[in-house]
């Protein structure tokens, strides 16, 4: 097991190296540059030269890459071209927000999906099953930005309510923080519920058909207890997989919702970086997201071995 983890972590190195080179090159390929954005209509050749020198983008590409990646190795992701703010601390801060949103969205998704999934599995092929499945899929089928704007409008018109706009962290004021985060979490969670529900349903179906459930039933234990205790535990593997995948997706998939609800998440940071050609932000954020993605997947794989002792890695 230990060897396995070490090997997986080592595998990170070439992947991250690949990603860092890929994103560096992509940023070079994108037409338009940060100096155009900074100077706008005031640009003159002299001013441009000053800025290129100041930002260090007049150096050869290889030098630029090496000095950046050298900094990254030492934990220094550089500074934003535009705001001069250090990139790494901002990534961490924003990550905490995106992660909170992701977790809340997962909770919302589970709250919707688990009961529906169980219901649907128990009543397989009935009218209830079909309605529940369509309902769960409906959430996936609405573009998030449309749902979000409609939600805001609905609350404003019907209740005269607007979620608090000043962001406060969870530690500062947990209640207020939740009030801010709950609506984006509902929008995101409902879009995830469909696949979680599907997975819950199919896992349960599989388990219910297995012999030991029949055996347990034969002992006369109440049905509900049987399902909860045995089926659920066995069904949790694919659910863990899915959760792992969705947290990865949520890292950046939240961007539109963050924008509409004015939440300073990681996705928005990256998006601004892309639009403004702020290389340090884009490169740093992409690299960071990749690390998180790989680590979460590793964690998921390790979790498997705890849930299901039959799974081993060599």
């Amino acid at each position: 097991m230990k060897n396995y983890i070490i090997r997986r972590v080592l595998m990170l190195v070439p992947i991250l190296l690949g990603i860092s080179i890929a994103i560096f090159l992509i940023m070079q390929l994108i037409p338009g540059d940060v100096v155009s954005g900074i100077l706008g209509i005031e640009e003159t050749p002299e001013l441009r030269a000053m800025w290129e020198k100041k930002l260090g983008i007049d150096r050869p590409l290889v030098t630029q890459y090496l000095s950046w990646i050298g900094g990254v190795v030492r934990g220094d992701f550089g500074e934003s071209f535009r705001t001069g703010a250090k990139v790494f601390p901002e990534i961490l801060w924003r990550f905490s927000i995106s992660a909170e949103l992701a977790i809340l969205a997962c909770v919302v998704a589970w709250l919707i999906a688990f009961p529906l999934g169980i219901l649907s599995a128990l009543k397989r092929n009935s009218v209830i099953d079909r309605n529940v499945r369509v309902l769960a899929l409906l959430g996936v089928s609405v573009p998030g930005f449309a749902f979000a704007t409609l939600l805001i409008l609905f609350m404003a018109l019907v209740f005269g309510y607007y979620p608090p706009i000043k962001y406060v962290s969870l530690l500062e004021n947990p209640l207020k923080n939740l009030e801010i985060m709950i609506f984006p979490a509902i929008v995101l969670g409902s879009s995830m519920a469909g696949s979680v529900m599907r997975m819950t349903r199919s896992s349960l179906l599989e388990v219910l058909r297995q012999d030991f459930i029949k055996a347990v039933r034969a002992t006369g234990a109440p049905e509900r207890v049987t399902i909860m205790r045995h089926a659920f535990r066995n069904a949790s593997i694919p659910i863990v997989t899915l959760v792992g995948m969705q947290i990865g997706i949520l890292m950046g998939g939240t961007v539109v919702i963050e924008q509409i609800f004015s939440i300073p998440g990681l996705g928005q940071y990256l998006l601004t970086g892309i639009f403004q050609r702020d290389f340090p932000i884009v490169q740093g954020t992409v690299l960071f997201m990749a690390v998180i993605y790989v680590l979460i997947n590793l964690l998921v794989d390790i979790l498997y071995t705890y849930i299901d002792p039959r799974i081993t890695y060599s």
């Binding site: 499945r133 449309a146 539109v256």
Partner: protein, 290 residues
């Protein structure tokens, strides 16, 4: 796992049986009908549409739905009904082509990775991991930013983003089939790699692959809508549902029909694909995990 995949493969190769089974499932039937409706709209758009989709008209600006304009008009005075009908073309083409790109490349990658193993496999899967590690919407935006905004580039971007899912699905099926005796048998009777891949592995990978494709189609239409929201999707005056919806947001209150109809059609289409995908999975194997 192994024998199951095998059975699915065979079941799917007898396509008529599966279709029949799907049709008997009310959900499958609903999905089929929904998709058929959209396809009909797209194919016969010139016959159904009532006005020129690009014809602007200051006098009929923001008109509510009426007998003249079934779905009302937008901020340019264009007929929303006609634009929705033509939008079906754009959305379907974007969906099909981008998923085609993703499925084609993903299939080859997955096949190669699963069959050859070793270096080839780790190289391919590493590439897939690199693509997968980018948040998909942002990667698609990056690609469009590099290539420039156009319908073709949007499809390429959405296509690239979806490659890893297909590659992984196919690789998993290939590996599952590979372990079985009958591949060894095929080898022993002297079949070449290519022949084995084509004749034995492909049919077995098809089941999860088809399901994945249905899901990716709905995902692609949704991604296009989101890209339009962020300003880098299908560009006006092309009537894509996504761009119609995102342009309509500012008029949501004064001209709700501008939002309602594109939204309705996006939901109808995506829901149809999703329902069909769901029914398909259930028909193939209720335990199939995707």
């Amino acid at each position: 796992m192994t024998s199951k995949e095998h059975i699915i493969g065979r079941r799917l190769s007898r396509g008529d049986g599966l279709l029949k089974q799907l049709w008997q499932d009310p959900l499958g039937r609903a999905g089929f009908l929904g998709i058929a409706l959209i396809i009909l709209l797209a194919v016969f758009a010139p016959l159904i549409a009532r006005y020129d989709v690009a014809q602007i008209n200051a006098r009929s600006r923001l008109a509510a739905p009426s007998i003249t304009y079934w779905f009302g008009t937008d901020n340019f005075g264009r007929d929303i009904f006609s634009r929705i009908i033509y939008g079906a073309r754009v959305s379907l083409i974007v969906g099909l082509v981008s998923v085609g790109i993703a499925a084609g490349i993903g299939y080859l990658f997955g096949l190669a990775a699963g069959y050859f193993e070793g270096r080839v496999e780790s190289a391919i899967m590493m590439l897939m991991d690199i693509i997968f590690a980018f948040p998909s919407i942002l990667l698609a935006l990056l690609i469009v930013a590099v290539l420039g905004t156009s319908v073709v580039n949007t499809m390429i971007a959405i296509g690239i983003v979806n490659i890893p899912v297909f590659a992984r699905t196919v690789r998993a099926s290939v590996k599952a089939v590979k372990g079985t005796d009958y591949i060894a048998n095929a080898r022993s009777v002297g079949l070449k790699n290519g022949a084995i891949l084509l004749r034995h592995i492909t049919p077995n990978a098809l089941a999860p692959f088809t399901v994945q494709a249905t899901l990716a189609l709905s995902g692609a239409i949704l991604t296009e809508a989101t890209m339009s929201f962020l300003g880098l999707g299908i560009q006006p005056p092309s009537p894509s549902w996504g761009s119609m919806l995102s342009e309509a947001r500012t008029y949501m209150e004064i001209a709700p029909w501008m939002v309602v109809f594109p939204a309705l059609f996006i939901i109808l289409t995506i829901l149809s694909f999703n329902i069909l995908g769901d029914a398909l999975r259930d028909a193939l194997d209720p335990k199939l995990k995707l």
